[in-house]
Symmetry: D2
Subunit: 341 residues, 4 copies
């Protein structure tokens, strides 16, 4: 069986695992105060071009979003997000459980449009009853989005400009950031993204780590009390060095980039193979997630040797499916899939 | 340098790590639906003598307490706990962040007394204004406690009887449960504890795992919607098998018991050595945490070769210190420490 | 100046105020345990045909919605509501502040469609990832809606059937219930509504009281701990009899009905007058709120002698406006307005 | 029957009620934007000597505490309070429901000691693990306290100095503030209190109003978004002028002071009468609440003609009782009580 269900089905990239193994018996202080974490923080700051940034390592994506959104918002504020955003749909109400509303915007293949964000904020404050409503207190976007699409440099600049004008922070969920950086046609470097976002995170769980997300706060003064909030959200890992070691490995010798590049290249091969066979590519995704509309009989046939997800409920004659590549996808897996088409 | 700071300073017990390494490239479904997790669940059910129990694996202790307490309490209820309890002191308000009050009881070396719990509940309902106050909705205890002490079988039976009478669940924080099971003079088996607690967790982080806590819900009908609450609390690990694999290893060939036994034996050797030298043993702990009152000059001398924590602020001439053993403590470490006294 | 801004601009109906004045110096116990409140509860039970119902008097609408929704939902659940619903828009995030998501449905002039509610719930549970999403735990509707429209008996029966099938409570925000009961073409009595709703409230603030909302819980066993939750939400009035006295007055000699009838009759006169002048009636409202699209110069002219609200931002040449009648609207006010057209 | 149960058993002082009656049919805008509220705000600012203060009128005490504490605290902070404080005991967990812990201090007849507050804060930051604990983010005191005792000017200055040094706001619950201002031996004027507190409220419910509490925020910049938080907490009264009218009346011609003075004088007469009969005065209260230890047979005899509360459970032979006076207590009531002793 070959697997294209998701990018979190295997363990860690061997380089990452190696570090955990070779340091296993060392004794270090907990909670991320160890030297491995410090080194990871330095590597991430360097990669982002932000020597002063606060870098906080957390375990998982929902946890990271819930903690940081809670940290960034005042009590009367909510978070703007695409109606398809992970926080709006698939986090079991974690944002609301911290007391904040998700204010939804239309999704354009998973993305929000700068002019629509701006319009929302303008209309909000033009409404005389706005103090009876939840104020837009930050913008959440994901790069790449839940549909594999990406913001261009110009699009992100436009969003950042809207946020700056409205004096609200721009937060980027980078659970799959490695695949956006390696996306077909990408014109947005990590440094450029880091300069535009107020807070973002670099996803580890889906890009080669066992687990782990690295939050980058451009201006540490924005979140002076992040540590106790991380603890309060149950997001503080006792053996914090496990996060430090993994991110140290990912940001050494360009591993994070390599993982992204290989997986995206594989995904694009898959996309071209499906397209060549005449199947509809449902979303113009330049990253490691690809969505196709397939006849049900093709799905049934492929399922005999390949594992992948239906995207939404099965249709009468055809259904949208998702194929995902990751660090553990081999070129042979892709060859085999293509041969089956 | 030899380390006695805590039981979460090293990585995982080699048997645990081995499983993570040898399965690393396997592809499994996420979120704890994989076969390794299923096997771990079966092993834990068996060890607890609870074939029908719901077992849920989570990442860390504060997260586990916050999630389960939130799941167990109604909105108008709070959780009874010793004033020294971890949830009352060292979880940065995680319980309150979910909307619940911690109702504190006197601590007797970290333990609560059954008669005091009963008295609290009786007085509460005798007060005519009780509907203006937070109702005691569950009892939280830790076994062993934050001070290393343990409840005897009779004490736990008394607490369980009080809870049953008051119709509130008894919850046991077993972050260090392995050390209680191996405690000097312990007369309470895992099966007995599992039969008395309504919900408890078996700590992995401090007993040989990289991370992980296994929650056991005796009657699954008590918490029919635990999964979405776990997700909502940001406590759902994407690569859930990492938890399954670790608990599978810990509950294979009695590893969990062995880790506890070795560490406790070492701690007791340390205790006797200090006692023999005439130092005060501050808390009658039969587990892997030991507390001594030492002259400051002794502390300073020991600190040159041994790492350990002050317990509270440094005193003028003497200070209470804590020594902790764990899976990675070697007998040579202990020998060396004793030789230094 | 004549006022049509809202139905909460004047004090209390004289019959209501009279009761407060004539009982002012009496001494009664607090928190709603007094005899006036007991009598009001009995009168409301009788009017609803629910002799066993739990009736709880609260102060205001947002408070009532937030408290009851919090009381009705489990932690993993959210509340279904029209995207135009008061809780979704104009309560400053009070529902989210208690930790719950508002799950929005399309609005049809302020109403939700039974088939769309049913579809939402069905699709939710058909989604394999539903435990990662917020479960629909109750349905919130308002009668009349924020746009003055009303559910017919058949429509409410359909919604109740959907809720019963899904085993979720149906909650009705009756902030302006008096005007729905008196609505043009209304075929739904208070008793019928009370039999279909699981929980609803009878609005006092907007229907002749100084303040006050009467919550009716058909089956008291559904909310056994409502009192402490009311207190916890800061919704418990110390001098609770003020609520009892007001609802006693409103439910004596059909006052609540009379207030509704008079105001609706006035609103319909206003509607017909605008319609006769050729202005667009924007929403087909049969109640005390009427919405018209007027040329800006007409608005400016009317504003010289009449006070009313723009509904949304002022347009370039024409704007939607709202006229509202209430207990204090006199027939002369309406005559004067019509004369101005 | 004569009533000494509490100070919220009757309606409003006649001067207050009169204003509600004579303005009843006027039409004003809602939510506290009306002219009566503006005038009340000006009167309160003047009485406090704080022409720039933000004054916000709310309905009840628990609501006020919950809303303001939530507004003042950051997410990682808790509120320091006496263990007997209203927020710690009798608000059904309202503070925790907003996510904040109440950090308790010893009570000295209901009061906290400045040196103990200072010590708590110093010890907190001396603890190396303080970021794992809930930070003291404000100090809550009540004036007078729940036991009728009051802070002297020197005591309040000391508390204010501790708070200023720790850079946390001092919040005063003035639910019965009128009685503290009139207390026997009081040396603290409203202006002086207003200059020392960062935020406090002037209680109306227990001092002559039907309901209502006036929050005073010395520096409005401290709480720039109070309005939406008030709404979010369900604390915004639609017919806001009802609050304005009442506080306007209370702060016209010294009514607030007069109510306090009369009730305190009556309470002191009662105290002296009990003392003269040899009964123990349990708390040295100089305000309108008095606590005595009485033989049960005396209680039973008095109860035949007087209504008052037991303070805690009935003892075997004697019990502590509370007598409270208020605006509606007549001198004849007091004469009658004294004659019964």
């Amino acid at each position: 069986m070959i697997y294209f269900d998701s990018d979190y089905m295997a363990g860690a990239h061997p380089e990452v695992l190696k570090r955990l193994v070779e340091t296993n018996t060392e004794q270090t202080v907990g909670y991320g105060c160890d030297d491995y974490t410090k080194r990871a923080v330095e590597l991430i700051r360097e990669a982002c071009g932000l020597p002063e940034a606060r870098v906080q390592l957390l375990v998982g994506g929902t946890q990271t979003n819930a903690t940081l959104i809670d940290a960034l918002l005042a009590r009367h504020e909510g978070v703007l997000a695409a109606e398809t955003g992970h926080i709006a749909v698939h986090e079991a109400g974690a944002v609301e459980a911290s007391g904040h509303k998700v204010l939804t915007l239309p999704s354009h293949d998973g993305k929000v449009a700068a002019e629509e964000v701006e319009h929302y904020i303008e209309e909000f404050y033009r409404d005389e009853t706005y103090e009876h409503m939840v104020a837009p207190g930050m913008l959440y976007i994901s790069q790449p989005t839940e549909y594999g699409t990406t913001y261009s440099k110009a699009e992100l600049e436009a969003l950042a400009a809207v946020c700056r004008k409205a004096e609200i922070p721009l937060y980027i969920d980078g659970a799959r950031l490695g695949y956006a950086l390696a996306a077909e046609g990408n014109d947005l470097s990590l440094k450029e993204l880091a300069a535009l976002a107020d807070v973002f995170y670099i996803g580890g769980t889906k890009v080669g780590a066992l687990f782990g997300e690295a939050v980058v706060v451009r201006d540490p003064k924005r979140l002076p009390h992040l540590f106790p909030l991380v603890k309060q959200h149950g997001a503080l890992l006792a053996k914090g060095r496990l996060l430090g070691l993994q991110f140290e490995a990912l940001f050494t010798n360009g591993l994070y980039e390599k993982i992204g590049q290989k997986a995206v290249a594989q995904a694009l091969r898959i996309r071209e193979a499906f397209r060549a066979k005449g199947y509809e590519v449902v979303v113009p995704s330049p990253t490691n997630q690809q969505f196709f509309r397939l006849p049900n009989e093709v799905i049934d046939r492929l399922k005999q040797e390949a594992s992948f997800e239906l995207w939404g409920p099965r249709g009468a004659t055809e259904t949208v499916v998702r194929f995902v590549t990751g660090w553990s996808t081999t070129d042979e897996d892709v060859d085999q899939l293509i041969a089956m088409l």
